[in-house]
């Protein structure tokens, strides 16, 4: 349970970063004004949440009570 939760958090965190970076933020390129605005507002916030979730997994791994190991 502990390992699964930790790995899950890392995977979701990295996925959030990747989605925010490549899908939700401003598209790559310099040709048009469309390249200046994010495709979804607050996309960078999603990236930051992803970073925090990834590193927050360390807290989950270390601080989850022992009873979660039995599941």
């Amino acid at each position: 349970m502990r390992k699964r939760l930790t790995i899950g958090m890392i995977v979701v965190g990295i996925a959030l970063m990747a989605i925010s970076y490549f899908v939700l933020s401003a598209p790559w390129g310099v040709e048009s004004v469309a390249n200046s605005n994010p495709r979804m507002q607050f996309a960078p916030l999603v990236f930051v949440v992803g970073v925090m979730m990834t590193f927050g997994s360390a807290l989950v791994y270390e601080m989850l009570p022992d009873r979660f190991d039995r599941d």
Partner: protein
Amino acid sequence: MSTATQEARLPRGVGRLTRGWTIFILAMVAISALGWIAYIREFTQGMTVTGMRNVGTMGGATWGLYITFVVYFVGVSFAGITIAAVIRLFKLDHLRPLARMAEVLTVVSLILGAIAIVADLGQPLRGMINLFRYARPQSPFFGTFTLVISGYLFASLVYLWLTSRRDAAVLAQRPSRLRWIHKIVAAGYTDTPAERERHSKTTFWLAISILPMLVVAHSTLGFVFGLQVGRPGWYSALQAPAFVVLAGVSGTGVLIVLAAIVRKMMVRDVGLNLQVFAWLGRFLMLLLFVYVYFMVTELLTSTYAGSERELQVTREMLWGEYSWIFWSAVIMLVIPLLGLTIQAIRRSWSIPWLVVSGIAVNLGAIGKRYLIAVPSQTHGQLLPYVDGSYTPTWVEFAVVASLLAFGALVIGVFMKVLPIVELEETGHA
């Protein structure tokens, strides 16, 4: 037995409020308060109370003392977490007394860097919201605030907390007024073999993931300057690596000074011996060699083959308005380098000399950061504007002084709440 007497038994001077410490804390609070007064003035009256003006049209610089210190503070954070991570990764047990203070230094300097950015924004709230709302991932600014401020700071905080839990658990077993804080920090840690193993794994993987991230983060900060093709003096492939190395220089310098202060404060031997300082001295010497090499290469390139505007920025640094800062910074970096090299050759290290070197390289690093930020704005115009100038006002000096004081205050308080040097492992907590 009274609580006060029992508290005197807490190790590493935790909970022991001496007269010197109290005076120090009051002085730091007073300086911090002065900074708040200055900042309120800036917030209510606008950036006009600072020395910063628009580049070109107003003949000034929009990045001044605050940005100089943003870069400086983020730089100081580099060595802290690097040394802490290296100690744990490579099990350098003789350097273990440095680990905690290195971690604290990283967290504090990153917080100061973030506050310095806020001080630089005329409308901080607008700036903060819009960064989260519109920032482009292609921009180095995006990397600076996602990786440096949020990711790096968060990761360092997690690292510091997890590595402090065991000591907090040990202290929580003793009666004191701080027991409730120790219990919160320990967060249920009881030092069982399973917990130790988990802790060992977590810190290993955290250290592994933090090290590459911090190189990327510091390089990104360098790219903020280095990728600006339209700004002579900034556009350079060496900016990013030079940022990383100078970050190491300033951070190691601060760590030497902090370690010497802690060594002086501790009544008992806590392992901060000459061997530890010699390691720091050698590390600082190595970084200084690399940085001086970068500096000479950069100067040679810009004076030998630079464009006219590039040459003008360099001339201003070498012989013009900024020459006193440049040559002072060179002296502050080169003399410690010579001193450290002599000590390394003779294999005889002097802690007072190392402390002087630590302070000197930091003054040199601040000077270099200032020279990176300002001259290119005042003298690196590609458009036909006359050369500008920038002189910081008392408001900027007060805010920066208050940031330094606030950092010292936080470290000073931390020392009295948790051990600044890790407790020895003496069985289970």
